[in-house]
Amino acid sequence: MYEELRSTTVHTPITLSEYGQIANRFPDALNWAGGTYLMSRPNFYPMDSNIEIIDLSGIEELQRITRTDRYIEIGSMVTAAQLLDTGRQILPPVLLGALTSIGSTIVRRQITVGGSLCIPDIRLSIPTALAVLDAMAEVRIYLANGKNVTRWIPVSRLYDKDGKFVPFEGKFLLTHIRIGLQYGAYQRFLITGNPMREGNFSVIIAFQAEKTAVALGKVQLCVTFPKKGFFISKEIIGQLSGINLPIAPKTIWTITGNLKGELRKTYPSLSSLQQERALRRFASILYDLNTLYLQS
């Protein structure tokens, strides 16, 4: 460290209330979870500003995974590796798919679930999977007047349609994520391209549905274009809900065509490659559903 540089101050709270005190004193301090996003920003180091960092790794209550009969609650500082190791038997397949899609254990050890939800401008695998599971995120907001409020927000509402994180009215901390244990028997998580290395060309799709005797129910679908969009279409979901199995190829074609129209309308700047990949992946999910149905 040299004279002209002021080393960044790092605060290390060990409880949430201690965090709250620090947050009120330093509302502009950076929350540091795994650090993988912050350290990949251009000009992250060296940084010539008097920033403060709040290292969340000491807060034990953010590192727990608890389970009840109805839900699993995951602390925001649980890493993807810990979640995968611990929850392999109980987590829904679509979330397991999202966790394994991260690829390397080395990276999974450094990524936290909360951190991956709070990235301001890129949407990746974990938020996509949690969105179709109707997961809820507990957010503590520290207001300017020194008070704080706690809200439970659906993960799907944390982002706008362009995938940008919707800001809160004050400094906030995402503390827990809750996933219900009632989910559909049919789940798919598909990723095309590498979202980290080719964010402008990759597509992430998560899908969940219940299979009743002959029809689909409780359909959830989320399509993510990492740097461009976070897409949940009530229309497409509506078209799929209650649809009879097997789905006729003509119907698959029609619904895919509708999805294409929606994507074009919502994301006019989407490249044809990303769009085509999304449509073909979506169609392959529906064909897959037919195969499973016919096999059962």
């Binding site: 990949s40 180091y45 608890t66």
Partner: protein
């Protein structure tokens, strides 16, 4: 901040900025030569080191998380018996990584071997406060080819295909398991 840590067996006390990435600490403050790239956190996979015996991307590890850590770079790792398992595997398979990624690919393979043999978690219970308990037991964890391939894809150097690397992992694993049985 004053960072007290052990690097390649030497106890050091370094004066560094608290958010300085470990990669830069090793290359600029300590002079480690085996780290020759800096992708600024975009996952090129060429900056691997061992921190407390666990392989990490050093460009994503800030100084303030390294208090009292034991850090081993490739320069230190290359003198260990574990490294010899991997080097023998290179020889037997007739393929080895290019000089640019040799260090990181070797540590990446070491990370995979650790997972496959459970060397770091053998018998240790990881207890989550609350209701979930998990025990990772050594020598039983199996990784399939698909998972190993995804692990190997972390290093983006294009000198080797996954088939060669899988073969090397297999051979190194057989040496490692034999050694573990002998030591047990």
């Amino acid at each position: 901040m004053n960072l007290d840590c052990t690097i390649d067996g030497k106890g050091l006390s370094l004066s560094v900025n608290s958010n300085k990435p470990l990669l830069l600490i090793l290359t600029e403050d300590v002079g480690i030569k085996s780290l020759n790239s800096n992708c600024h956190g975009t996952h090129c996979g060429n900056c691997l080191v061992l921190v407390n015996d666990v392989v990490v991307l050093s460009c994503l590890m800030p100084a303030f998380r390294l208090k009292d850590a034991t850090i081993q770079t490739f320069e230190g790792f290359s003198k260990t018996r574990q490294c010899r398992d991997i080097e023998r595997a290179y020889q037997v398979s007739g393929n080895k990584p290019c000089p640019n990624c040799y260090a990181s690919k070797t540590l990446l393979i070491e990370s995979i071997l650790q997972s496959l043999t459970g060397e770091h978690h053998a018998g240790r219970e990881i207890t989550m406060p609350g209701r979930i308990h998990n025990q990772i037991v050594g020598d039983t964890k199996q990784l399939d080819e698909d998972s190993i391939t995804k692990e190997l894809a972390l290093n983006t150097c294009q000198c080797m295909d996954t088939g060669e690397l899988l073969q090397i992992v297999e051979i190194a694993l057989s040496y490692r398991r034999r050694k573990n049985v002998r030591r047990a």
